[in-house]
Amino acid sequence: MKTIIDSRSNGGIGASPDYVAISSHINSPNNAALYLDIRAIVSAIRKVLPAEAQVLFDTTVAPNLNPVKGLAISGSNSPDHSSSTLFLQIG
């Protein structure tokens, strides 16, 4: 909760370079948006894996998963159509 309050002063997600990069590919302003920091999520999952599984993960999965940085989806409405964009960030 404290980090939520602090986000107002430190820029929050808007100061994240990865988010700034991916947000340029989706509708803004929008009516709805979803963002997933895939690299951070994968890293968090890796941390809870057993040591043996971590080694396997690092050698087989990670090299081809590391380039996938994030996923963003947005939707926006206008008087005669709605549009949406899904962007998978690879870097």
């Binding site: 909760m1 404290k2 980090t3 939520i4 309050i5 602090d6 986000s7 107002r8 002063s9 430190n10 820029g11 929050g12 997600i13 808007g14 100061a15 994240s16 988010y19 990069a21 991916i22 590919h25 509708n27 803004s28 302003p29 929008n30 009516n31 709805a32 948006a33 979803l34 963002y35 997933l36 920091d37 951070a40 999520i41 968090a44 941390k47 809870v48 090299p63 081809n64 380039p67 926006s76 409405n77 206008s78 008087p79 005669d80 159509h81 709605s82 549009s83 949406s84 964009t85 899904l86 962007f87 998978l88 960030q89 690879i90 870097g91």
Partner: protein, 506 residues
């Protein structure tokens, strides 16, 4: 040294001249004696040879430039969608995958592939394609060697609305078709023949002709299998009628999908350079979904008619760029024909969501909405007398719906975020929503906390305590194992959050 060596070279021959005559030459001034046989040869042969070589070079350069131009043009432009011209105008679904996309897409894809060790070389990508084709053909009885020699640049799928519902007639049981462009119809036919002897060996096969095109029809248990090759396009379908309609469309006797206004409108809003395309005719689809008993969200028949009348088409394009891959989609509608409650949702203007300012930089992710009030009103109108806890309290009693309910005071901006908590493997989450007054939100949160404590017997609001951080006061009440707390910040955006080991509630 030959006297002619000092003269300027002759002009290049006109394009196509085989052995041009030498131009008139000034008299030699160095050696006036008659040339010997050898010297005569040395005077005329180089001249002819030079002109011949020069002519050939020019021809090669011009031919090379033309061929290069054509290749560059094809590289930049890719191959146009040739499948859609044979898809009937009343099709409900059409998807196309372009194996020869425009140059910008090829370069972007190459950049992306190079970032993945598994596919960062041409041979690796080739191996994966072969493996995919082999896996696909395991049951059908073909391998990549049967397909790749004739596989063209277009893969497509088309379906009419009856493919999604009850069949009208046995022969129209599955009005869908796969279309695969062919670079060698003979080899493509050989593969089709091979399939008949493998995956569909139990079928009874017959030949039919429609408008000069031969169809092979296999009848077995269930959906028939129909194949034909039309305009260098292999068609594999589940309905004879649908294939006949495609042949008529290919021969210009039936309107094609790309001639319809709805298709043109949808496509005009999508990127022209793309890898793949999906188009759905919503009215056609709703016709069928209405016929199978409220499959479209359980809506009434009259609402489905309204939706079918209001909606046009949905188009989506798959586009590669150097830093990622995107799916861009557009859905067209006539808002004047939309049901009132849906119109209220779809006409909420887009904005910069205020909840975004409260998402921490290290969040795992978030979901934001700008029309939460309209969305909740749309759904809550049907459930105001229902309790999420069963029996009581109802949504009205919880302070969610009703004249003083929190919904009517929502500005619309809302979000849900999941965050990384330092020193913990468990993530934390928070729900954020903006209101035009703190009082209704306070009432809702108080009611919610009291109800949760009462229903679960895991907490007591009498044990509530307060905390302050950066000028924001929060309240929490301890749970048996955790605490629950929610609080507003100064921008009147209350938040309900959860973290381990404490859950915060206002």
């Amino acid at each position: 040294m030959n006297a002619y060596d000092d003269l300027p070279p002759p002009p290049p021959p006109p394009l196509g001249a085989q052995f041009p005559q030498p131009p008139p030459h000034p008299s030699p001034v160095v050696d006036e004696s008659p040339p010997s046989a050898d010297s005569a040869g040395s005077e005329t042969k180089p001249s002819h040879a030079r002109r011949t070589v020069a002519g050939a070079l020019v021809a090669v350069v011009v031919a090379g430039a033309v061929a290069g131009g054509i290749l560059a043009f094809r590289f930049v432009r890719g191959t146009a969608d040739s499948a859609v011209t044979m898809v009937p105008s009343d099709s409900a679904l059409y998807a196309n995958f372009n194996l020869d996309p425009p140059g910008s897409q090829k370069m972007a894809l190459n950049d992306l592939f190079n970032k993945f060790p598994a596919v960062n070389s041409e041979s690796q990508r080739d191996t994966w394609v072969n493996l995919a084709l082999d896996n696909l053909g395991t049951k059908a009885g073909f391998t990549h060697a049967d397909v790749r020699p004739w596989l063209g640049p277009q893969l497509a799928v088309a379906a009419q609305e009856s493919a999604f519902g009850r069949p009208a007639t046995p022969s129209h049981a599955a009005a869908f078709a796969f279309l695969i462009s062919s670079t060698d119809d003979g080899k493509a036919q050989a593969t089709l023949d091979k399939l008949r002897g493998a995956a569909f060996s139990g079928y009874t096969w017959s030949k039919q002709t429609h408008d000069g095109v031969q169809l092979t029809v296999g009848q077995g248990n269930g959906t028939p299998v129909v194949s034909a090759i039309v305009n260098h396009m292999v068609v594999l379908a589940g309905s004879t009628d649908f294939v006949n309609e495609m042949i008529d469309t290919a021969h210009g006797k039936h309107a094609s999908l790309d001639s319809t206004d709805a298709y043109k409108t949808a496509l005009s809003q999508l990127p022209g350079d793309r890898l793949a395309l999906l188009y759905v005719s919503v009215p056609e689809l709703l016709k069928q979904l209405g016929g199978i008993g409220g499959a479209f969200g359980g809506t009434s028949a009259s609402t489905q008619r309204e939706l079918a009348d209001a909606y046009r088409g949905i188009g989506a394009a798959l586009v590669a760029s150097s830093d990622g891959i995107a799916i861009t989609a557009v859905q067209d509608y006539d808002s004047s024909k939309l049901p009132a409650d849906l119109k209220a949702v779809l006409t909420v203007p887009a904005d910069q969501n205020g909840a975004l300012a409260l998402v921490p930089g290290h969040a795992y992710g978030f979901l934001t909405l700008t029309g939460l009030r309209q969305d909740l009103q749309y759904f809550a109108s049907a459930f105001s007398s229902v309790s999420p806890f069963g029996g009581s309290p109802t949504l009205d009693e919880l302070g969610i719906t009703g004249p003083n309910g929190v919904i009517s005071h929502l500005t619309g901006d809302a979000g849900f975020e999941v965050d990384n908590v330092s020193g913990s493997n468990m993530p934390a989450g928070a729900f954020l929503f903006a209101t035009d007054t703190g009082a209704s939100a306070q009432t809702f949160l108080d009611n919610l906390a009291a109800t949760v404590c009462q229903k679960t017997s895991q907490c007591s609001t009498s044990q509530e305590t307060k905390q302050s951080h950066s000028g924001v006061t929060s309240r929490r009440c301890p749970l048996a194992a955790t605490h629950r707390q929610a609080f507003p910040h100064r921008g009147q955006s209350p938040a309900i959050g959860e973290s381990s080991p404490r859950v915060w509630t206002r």
